[in-house]
């Protein structure tokens, strides 16, 4: 289930290691006994039906939610102490797009965590921001207010912020929600570039139809971890129908046709 044997260099510290993770809101567990190791340099999709705990899963990696039991390690460091090692790209809905701030200023925020409170960003910080904006192909929009961008561009601004932070692990919450096909391509292109630069990306994703094509590995969650592996391993019809409880007849064909990457 975890640690697919096909991946090279097993001596590396895992990017993310989760042990016996259980999180509950009130009496009902949102996540139950999750065990998972994600190796560095992978583009990982997190899939599962609505309310299956995908967001909670991401928040646990960030150290945001109180765990009942279990541990989460980021590059071998407990997540509470690993702040700054993980960068987070929020859902577009979680951002106030009227906020009077430019693309460049948002990306520059990625540097604030490393600056002591009495210091202003230096020339080096600005150079890092330039690189980050270049990577997501947003340099030409540097001085735009963030509300004046398209959905995909908005997503990329926050990608740039995450990259400027210098973290090796990026968590993205539904970056493909509500964008058109061309934009989806553009975002995916940025994800691939980040992966080539050695980043580990964990992406909450809602569209099973594209999951196999986009990601190296898939995490299938509904409270419990149902599967972690290559898309071919995870997108099994019986597994999916168990998790999605028959709501997914449409995807039956699709699973048959796709799957090895």
């Amino acid at each position: 289930m975890s640690n697919p044997s096909s991946f090279p260099d097993p001596v590396q510290t895992p990017a993310i290691r989760i042990q016996n993770l259980t999180v509950s809101y009130g009496p009902k567990p949102a996540l139950l006994d999750i065990n998972l190791t994600i190796d560095p340099g992978l583009l990982v999709g997190v899939i599962g039906p609505n309310g299956s705990g995908k967001s909670t899963f991401v928040k646990s990696i960030l150290g945001f939610v109180k765990r009942d039991i279990g541990d989460v390690y980021i590059q071998g460091i407990p997540t509470e102490k690993a702040k700054g090692l993980v960068a987070y790209v929020p859902q577009r809905g979680a951002v106030d797009w009227d906020f009077p701030i430019t693309v460049r200023e948002v990306a520059l925020m990625g540097r604030y965590g490393d600056l002591p409170w009495y210091r202003q960003p230096s020339g080096k910080d600005h150079a890092i921001v330039d690189d980050a904006l270049e990577m997501v192909r947003m340099q030409e929009f540097s001085d735009r207010q963030i509300g004046q961008l398209s959905g995909g561009q908005q997503q990329r601004v926050f990608m740039a912020r995450a990259l400027a932070q210098g973290a090796d692990i990026l968590l993205l919450d539904e970056p493909f929600a509500g964008v058109d096909a061309a934009t989806e391509r553009a975002i995916l292109d940025v994800l691939d570039r980040a992966k080539e630069a050695g980043k580990t990306l964990v992406v909450v994703h809602h569209d099973l139809a594209t999951a196999a094509e986009y990601f190296d590995r898939l995490v299938l969650i509904k409270q419990r971890l149902y599967a972690y592996g290559t898309p071919a391993e995870v997108l099994h019809e019986d597994l999916l129908s168990e998790v999605y409880e028959g709501r997914l007849r449409v995807f039956a064909d699709l699973v048959g046709n796709r799957g090895d990457k």
Binding site: G84, P90, P100, T102, Y112
Partner: protein, 300 residues
């Protein structure tokens, strides 16, 4: 009695009086000769930029209601002053601070939406103030000053307090500005990024509470929110970036304060200073809205 107090202050704080006596030379108008106009002008010139830059954050972080609740806590502050026969200025400050920090604390922990939390505190402090004030009969003067403000009654001690607050607040703005912007845009993002969100939020709430209470003295509770919001709203029309907004807001705020005070003290006007200041600020807002319209910002 008042004259004696004024004399004492003159002895203990000579520098400030010298500074104030320079004002008529800078603004050569007849009204500037009188001491209370000098003090009022100095007080407003200190308070206006503070209100302006805190106001920019109030607008950007959508915290107008928060400021409103603190300003109304001043009413309960007056009441506590009455109850314990303490100086109402101090009880107002302390209570304002307490209410600001409490709202922030509850808001951070509670699952209720922030306007609900604020509404609860808001009504509590008003109810408390009304209960106490209704019991005492001879408090019309205090309540009046609470409602309409009285910047022209400001004394040199309060000016010193304002100067101290000015230094602390500007230091906070200079060094905390970037992180406050970060937190304002997205607190959880800032949190992931090891920005100490809680410290900044509490500091901001405390400073905002102090500025709000001083503004209550200046323009009265009815107009405090205007003092924070109107310059910032105008500035948002003039500028697209958060940084530009701060400078515009400060300029508009100081201009309205000075112009409003000078007009209100003219014999032909003889109006309430606070209200006049806010009216001038509103005129600036109208101009800014016109500029934004002409520039074609309506899509924003």
């Amino acid at each position: 009695m008042i004259a004696v107090a004024a004399d004492m202050e003159r002895e203990t704080m000579p520098d400030l009086m010298d500074l104030l006596s320079l004002l008529p030379k800078i603004i050569p108008m007849e009204c500037m000769e009188s001491g209370f106009v000098q003090r009022a002008l100095f007080g407003l010139v200190l308070l206006a930029p503070m209100a302006a830059c805190m106001g920019v954050q109030v607008v950007n972080f959508r915290m107008a209601f928060f400021a409103d609740a603190i300003s109304h806590s001043a009413f309960a502050g007056v009441a506590i002053g009455l109850l314990f026969a303490a100086n109402p200025h101090w009880t107002m400050l302390v209570l304002g601070l307490l209410v600001g920090l409490s709202i922030m604390a509850v808001q951070r922990r509670s699952s209720l939406s922030s306007d609900t939390v604020i509404g609860v505190f808001f009504s509590a402090v008003i109810a408390f103030g009304l209960t106490v004030v209704s019991h005492y009969k001879n408090v019309a003067r205090d309540v009046n000053q609470f409602l309409y403000g009285g910047i022209t009654t400001i004394d040199t001690t309060e000016l010193w307090e304002l100067m101290a607050l000015f230094v602390v607040l500007m230091a906070f703005q200079v060094w905390g500005y970037n992180r406050m912007l970060y937190i304002g845009m997205n607190p959880s993002l800032a949190q992931v990024h090891r920005v100490r969100v809680a410290i900044y939020q509490y500091l901001y709430a405390a400073l905002l509470a102090l500025v709000v209470i001083f503004s209550v003295w200046a323009v009265g509770v009815l107009l405090v929110t205007a003092m924070l919001i109107v310059p910032a709203a105008s500035a948002r029309n003039f500028s697209r970036t958060a940084g530009g907004m701060v400078w515009w807001a400060m300029a508009i705020s100081v201009f309205s304060a000075v112009a409003g005070l000078l007009i209100s003290t003219q014999p032909w006007a003889d109006t309430a200073t606070g209200a006049t200041v806010i009216l001038i600020a509103f005129l600036c807002f109208l101009i800014s809205a016109g500029v934004a319209y002409l520039r074609g910002d309506s899509s924003r």
